[in-house]
Amino acid sequence: MSQPGGWPPPPQAWAPPQPWPQAVAPQWAPPQWAPPVAPQPAYEQRPIRSHRDPRPGGRLGHRLGVAVLLVVALAAGALLSRYTPDVDSAQRPFIRTGHIGQTVTLPDFTIRVRSVRGAAVLSQSGANHDTGGVWILVTVRLAALHEPVSVGYMALRDAAGHTYRASGRVNQLLIGWRLQPGVPVAGEVAFEVPVAVAANLAVRFARPTQEDFLRMDAVGEVPLSISDSQVRGWKADSTPASPAAPAVTS
């Protein structure tokens, strides 16, 4: 069958629109609440009665375990602190030793102890100074290496570790003397020590970064060869000794 105008016939599936059937017209209704339905887990679910170990003693064991761990931690800390060097040990001075006549080189200056003598009385500027011990006079040559330096610490140290600073009872011009590089200066430094320790001494020189402390400072140490008979002789001799003033030397 052909259509007028030469149009092809409509496909078979096509049909003219029909009115909406009344029977299937949507009817509005208020939503009805329904309780949520729990998803069904893939495993068995049982109520948890306690998080603790139900075995008798489990709670006590836990507490004991914590206590033991605490004790172990404290013991480890105590052990560490016991064998860790304290500040005084960790920051002890760096000692460089020599002997009389030998040049001891420190980072900033050099030391050469030339000689040592002693006396019962010291004389300076017309005044005599006696002592309850004995005077020790150390002749030393100091030389700056790179820049002007002052050697502010001079002391004697005995075998028991006691230190005796250079005496302040007389003028000690070498202490704090501004040393210029290439211009060595030699002079005598006076110390007071008990007679009993005078035969076992070493002299120390340093340029301390902190007053009265030598923490991590370079220290030059030279043992003094003094005999007991020398000490007795010095103590018995009442002739005053005058410390030699600093002078430029070679």
Partner: protein, 198 residues
């Protein structure tokens, strides 16, 4: 009903009970060790003149007080002032020379310019004390400048302050530092005062 094991019952006790028990135990031990005994109020011990007092790095023996009007060539700051002096024997017991130990105070003396001594002199030759050496006791004069109109006491109470070898919280190193209660003297000694005014 079967009774629970002892460990389980102990473990079930509240933690507070453990704390209370530990506290009671500590108190009991402390009581047995004398920790609950009455303690006398802290006070400064009085020592006899010429008795040595351990002040930490030094041992101090106060000998006598003295008032002098002239110590030439040492001059007071103010013309006309005089010197109040305490003479003591100082022995360094520390390992190293001590910088001018000045452990003495005379808080009840009137007319002093300063609390600390103005000068510390060596009796041996009158030189200023820069250092005192270990194992070498020295007779030392502590000088305070005093107004001329202040009364001269018959006796003087001398407080001896102490130092403790302990860790410096700044450096971590150990050194001699004033006692925790720096104003609390280690001891007090009463000595006669000699009037040596000219």
């Amino acid at each position: 009903m079967a009774s629970r094991p002892l460990a389980a019952r102990v473990a079930a006790l509240p933690l507070r009970w453990f704390g209370i028990g530990a506290g009671v135990l500590a108190l009991g031990v402390s009581g047995f060790a004398g920790g609950l005994n009455p303690v006398a109020a802290p006070g400064t011990p009085q020592v006899q003149p010429s008795a040595a007092v351990d002040a930490g790095p030094v041992k101090v023996t106060v000998l006598v007080g003295r008032v002098v009007s002239d110590l030439s060539p040492i001059k007071p700051d103010e013309d006309g002032d005089r010197w109040f002096m305490v003479i003591a024997t100082i022995e360094v017991t520390a390992n190293d020379s001590r910088v001018t130990p000045d452990p003495l105070r005379v808080p009840h003396v009137a007319g002093l310019l300063h609390k600390k001594p103005d000068r510390v002199l060596l009796s041996r030759d009158g030189t200023d004390v820069d250092y005192l050496n270990p194992g070498m006791p020295e007779r030392v004069a502590y000088l305070w400048e005093q107004r001329p109109d202040a009364p001269v006491p018959a006796t003087v109470e001398v407080d001896i302050l102490g130092e403790t070898y302990r860790t410096n919280s700044l450096t971590g190193g150990k050194e001699w530092l004033p006692d925790d209660d720096a104003d609390q003297p280690r001891a007090t000694v009463q000595v006669p005062v000699q009037d040596k005014r000219t």
